[in-house]
């Protein structure tokens, strides 16, 4: 994601030598500064707020959209925020190792006395930070569009749970792809392709046993369906808990695999050299 400065490497090395065991904190701090104190993070957040402003105004003023139930509009905003956060976080981690590799800074990072898992953890946490910020940005829009009891709470709580699981899973996917990719271009393309592949079924009318299978097993469709039922259909959380299985399994499995792979991080990527 970024090139660690010699100061950071020295700081991490000194913390490890001192037995602090918090090198990942140093790396996460540097990565967070790189995202939020540069133009990248703020530009994404401001762009998201402009998009949500446009959608909110259209939903409130447009005659055709006016027909849509208020709960549907709130659901739309929550899902768009979630999809944006997943996509952006994924692209951040898809760049984090292959980017260093391409900029020829990975070698110096690997010789730093910081365990590779902690390097990955620092970058991982920095990428995940995009999600809570975007969710906070969405709060005023969902609040102003809410109508009826419990819509706001349903939307925020649903988005928090589903979004967190999806972001964790996709950030891990980006990290995994980045670890094995020899070039940044390949890493970004593969990660984005998988994201679109899993996102596309949420826009399809899924029916029959095959549709049910996709809904239950694809983390994106399962999460999206759960959110739709919680916000629009006013289902209780207990009614559709089975829909959270796929996002939860996705998050746990991808995180596990990504950190196992991160422990064996090599200077050269396996593909696309």
């Amino acid at each position: 994601m970024t090139t660690l400065t010699p100061d950071v490497r020295r700081e991490a090395a000194s913390q490890l030598t001192a037995g602090a065991g918090g090198s990942w904190l140093v790396i996460a701090g540097q990565e967070l500064r790189d995202i939020w104190l540069s133009a990248r993070g703020p530009a994404i957040v401001i762009g998201t707020s402009l998009l949500l402003s446009l959608l909110t105004y259209l939903a409130a003023s447009n005659e055709e959209l006016n027909i849509i139930d208020q709960r549907d509009t709130v659901n739309l905003l929550a899902q768009i925020t979630m999809a944006l956060a997943v996509g952006v976080s994924l692209l951040f981690t898809a760049d984090c190792v292959s980017g260093e590799r391409e900029r020829e800074t990975l070698e110096s990072l690997l010789v730093t006395p910081v365990p590779r898992g902690q390097v990955a953890l620092g970058k991982y946490l920095a990428a995940v930070s995009m999600w809570p910020v975007l969710l906070i940005v969405a709060i005023p829009y969902i609040w102003v569009l809410r109508e009826g009891d419990g819509v706001f709470a349903d939307a925020m709580l649903g988005a928090l749970v589903v979004g967190t699981l999806l972001v964790i899973g996709f950030v891990s996917l980006g990290l995994l792809v980045s670890i094995f990719s020899g070039s940044n271009r390949l890493s970004l393309a593969v990660a984005f392709f998988i994201f679109v592949l899993l996102l596309a079924p949420t826009q399809l009318p899924l029916g029959g046993w095959f549709g049910d299978l996709i809904t239950q097993t694809n983390p994106m469709t399962a999460g999206s369906t759960f959110l739709h039922r919680a916000i629009v259909k006013e289902h209780g959380w207990g009614e559709d808990l089975d829909l959270l299985i796929a996002p939860a399994v996705w998050a746990i499995a991808m995180t596990g695999v990504a950190f196992i792979a991160a422990g064996r991080l090599r200077l050269q990527g396996s593909f696309g050299r």
Partner: protein, 191 residues
């Protein structure tokens, strides 16, 4: 898509045919039985004219009175919409999310009330009325229907700069974010 449409049409035709057959058989049975009391029903509504703008909602009540000599069977009350200006496209589902209500049997001389909510989604002249018919199994092919007087709605297009009060939010949030991130950069430059 076409194949699915054809299948749906076929299923619908078979279902309609079966319903028609069942209804005819039931009608024949009813010919010898007691007549259904729906013809003795009167339906009134609490509004007659409504002027609104698009996006407005209003409620009204309908009251079904049984002036017959015996109790009615269970009834179904349905809210219907029709464009009376000839040009407005009316999809009833958009105008009211709950358009059918079950009504329990009404005793002689008694009344039953229903509340309806209407959302005026498009500009134009639209009439709305409540139709009452017997619920199955009393429903037969030639069951008389009871209909309320029509509520005439004149809906004007709503043009507002601040629809639903969202304008402050959609303007302030991006501005606050720009100022916050811009302020951070300025502070960093001087610290």
């Amino acid at each position: 898509m076409i194949r699915r449409g054809g299948l749906v049409a076929l299923v619908a035709t078979v279902a309609l045919f079966a319903i028609a057959l069942g209804a005819r058989r039931h009608a024949a049975a009813e010919m010898n039985g007691a007549p259904i009391a729906v013809g003795e029903l009167t339906v009134v509504v609490s509004k007659s004219n409504v002027s609104a703008v698009t996006g407005d909602s209003f409620t009204f009540t309908s009251e079904i009175r049984n002036s017959g000599s015996e109790a009615t069977p269970a009834l179904i009350a349905n809210l219907a919409f029709v464009a009376v200006d000839g040009g407005t496209y009316v999809d009833p589902e958009d105008w009211s999310s709950e358009r059918t209500q079950a009504v329990a049997p009404i005793a002689t001389g008694a009344t039953a009330s229903q509340m309806w909510t209407v959302k005026t989604v498009l500009a134009g002249d639209v009439a709305s009325y409540v139709v009452v018919l017997p619920a199955p199994p009393a429903l037969v092919a030639n069951s008389p229907l009871a209909v309320s007087p029509a509520i005439q709605m004149h809906v004007e297009k709503h043009r507002a700069l601040n629809p639903g009060g969202v304008l402050p939010t959609v303007l302030i949030v991006p501005v606050v974010l720009v100022m916050a991130f811009g302020g951070m950069r300025v502070v960093r430059r001087f610290v």
